[in-house]
Symmetry: C2
Subunit: 362 residues, 2 copies
């Protein structure tokens, strides 16, 4: 039986992380790079969602230069669906704008908010769960989210505490009531979360009925609800000037902080479909094909007693001798060599470059 849900997707494409430098640069963030496959991550995201959502119901949201990249990479996407943030104001503003677009089409439509730069290994399971989550969002008065079972006490993710007892099925999948959203924890808190068993990583993927989103803002986020109302009206009046003014005034907060942490009746579903946010170079050690010494690589590699490295040097030869657990990336005019457990410190290099006026490498 075909679902009655009018499912729309919003692909968040506005990120500008630096963690894949020097492959990613200021004007070419991770979602526009072929990090995981031969295609860029946003192309993979679009291809995946298109299996269950027609193109006219897929939106992207990003700033103007990024939107030009999106138009080039996703030529099949209707131009009107490439939503442009008039100003960079974090995810609450972006999702108010995108949801308002969907609301204008159909207040009872369900919006699936997707990151443009995440990896999903088990695509059929993901799509099945996404349809179930859409059903949950359509049938209830709550927001819906995906939580990922933690495998280590990560301090780089937010956590979702949920109630294992009160599960409820939609389309054959169990959904649990959310007790609380927790921001990125300390190492100790993360260890306790892992131990307790009723915390999941916040995947950053959400679903909501447009009308439910509006009501949740009205009830739980009084600071943002007026911006929702003004945005919704601006769309009816097709006033881009008003939109600019709204984006100048709206607080630059994440949707987690602006709404998810405050909303009541939110449900969480297990995101056990091989999810990864591919947060930094070291993540590719588990994703790229590996040689028999555990070296994950792009490009030709000759390794003499070298193990556990991640090499990105496509089209060239990389020779390793006695090198272990090292990230090696050649991109354009920059070579990065970084101990695998220090890949978070790429930003220190960027700070040094900025300080030294070497901005052309950023």
């Amino acid at each position: 039986m075909k679902s009655a849900v009018d499912l729309h997707a919003v692909i968040m494409a506005g990120g500008s992380g630096t963690r894949f430098w020097p492959l990613s640069r200021k004007r070419r963030p991770k979602q526009f790079l072929p990090i995981v496959s031969e295609k860029t991550m946003i192309e993979e995201t679009y291809r995946r969602i298109r299996r269950i959502v027609p193109g006219r119901r897929v939106f992207t949201i990003a700033d103007a230069p990024q939107s030009r990249s999106i138009r080039r990479l996703l030529p099949a996407l209707p131009a009107a669906n490439v939503l442009i943030e008039p100003r960079a104001r974090n995810t609450a503003a972006s999702l108010i704008l995108a949801t308002a677009h969907v609301h204008r089409r159909n207040p009872e439509a369900v919006v699936a908010v997707l990151a443009s730069d995440h990896l999903i290994l088990d695509e059929p399971l993901f799509l099945k769960k996404l349809e179930a989550a859409a059903e949950a969002a359509f049938r209830t008065e709550g927001l819906v989210t995906f939580g990922v079972q933690p495998t280590y006490p990560a301090t780089g993710y937010g956590y979702i505490q949920f109630d294992q007892a009160g599960g409820r099925d939609f389309a054959g999948e169990p959904f649990y009531p959310v007790r609380a959203f927790r921001e990125k924890p300390t190492r100790e808190a993360a260890a306790a979360f892992l131990e307790s068993g009723d915390y999941a990583w916040n995947s950053g993927m959400f679903l909501w009925r447009a009308s439910v989103f509006a009501r949740a803002l009205e009830r739980d986020s009084p600071a943002f609800f007026p911006f929702w109302q003004r945005t919704r009206e601006a769309l009816d009046k097709k006033s881009s000037k008003t939109l600019i003014r709204i984006f100048e005034e709206i607080p630059a907060l994440s949707i987690d902080y602006a709404l998810m942490e405050k909303a009541k009746g939110t449900l969480v579903c297990a995101g056990d479909f091989g999810w990864s946010d591919v947060g930094a170079w070291s993540a590719l050690g588990e994703i790229w094909p590996r040689d028999d010494q555990g070296n994950a690589r792009r490009g030709d590699v000759v390794a003499v007693e070298s193990r556990g490295n991640i090499i990105c040097n496509p089209g060239k030869l990389t020779a390793l001798i006695g090198v272990e657990n090292t990230v090696i990336v050649q991109a354009g005019d920059v070579l990065l060599v970084c101990r695998k457990d220090r890949d978070q410190d790429v930003k220190k290099v960027l700070d040094l470059l900025r300080g030294g006026g070497k901005t052309k490498h950023l």
Copy 2:
């Protein structure tokens, strides 16, 4: 007072080592690379010796393709002085040919045999000692060599055992009688040599009067003396066909093995002028300028908690994070990353490339 010695220099330029791969390649060995300074090592060698030897008395010896490189790099050198080995037959054959050329000009001329790819830090002292050694070669019936005070129990050099008691001065420098030449020792033997104090590293630089060289071959190297006679005659007859035949028949042995180990009356002088054969990448850690974390480098480097590295990536930026004691070389289509104490294993990479048919990278 000007010396009476008619000093000639022979620059041995025929080597084809692989230890600076991937900067050095099959057709571009170390002597033709600007490893130590902005100029190639053979240009530095020529410039240095020209301070005391006029160009018409400087010879090079190498194979035909290498000789083309020499002509290009040393345009001031008379074409007739660029001697070509008809076949690659190791250093005994080359030095018989080169010394025969000098002998034809003047049997009492002194030949200084120089490597084309060694570093000498204290150039004035080197030239002073070289003139003293030329004096010793001119005044005695012996061969003369430079020995370098060992600083560690190296197994990669030959050793010269000498008699500290029997020193004799020439031009104010002491020369000691050589007791024996020892080939590359085991680690244990090298430690004993270092301990004893009467062993020096064989620098591979030699001096001899042409007529003394001929008599030493006649007396101590009966296998090679006939080749000397035939070579000397072939030069008088200008018969390149005969030279080719000689090079086809002559044993491919080093001059150390063919003559130095057997000759009597050899003298050694202390080569304490900052000599290095720049044997592999790690040697550059002591030679190239270093940043305050001890990273020796060519090219722009940004280092975050990274120490003791050697980076060759000219014209580009290299960023290091948590990397220590590693050699990093970007050259053409190849990137080498190698633990500093494993730089001798570059040949293992080349063996793997040869085995895999990837000969374009050699």
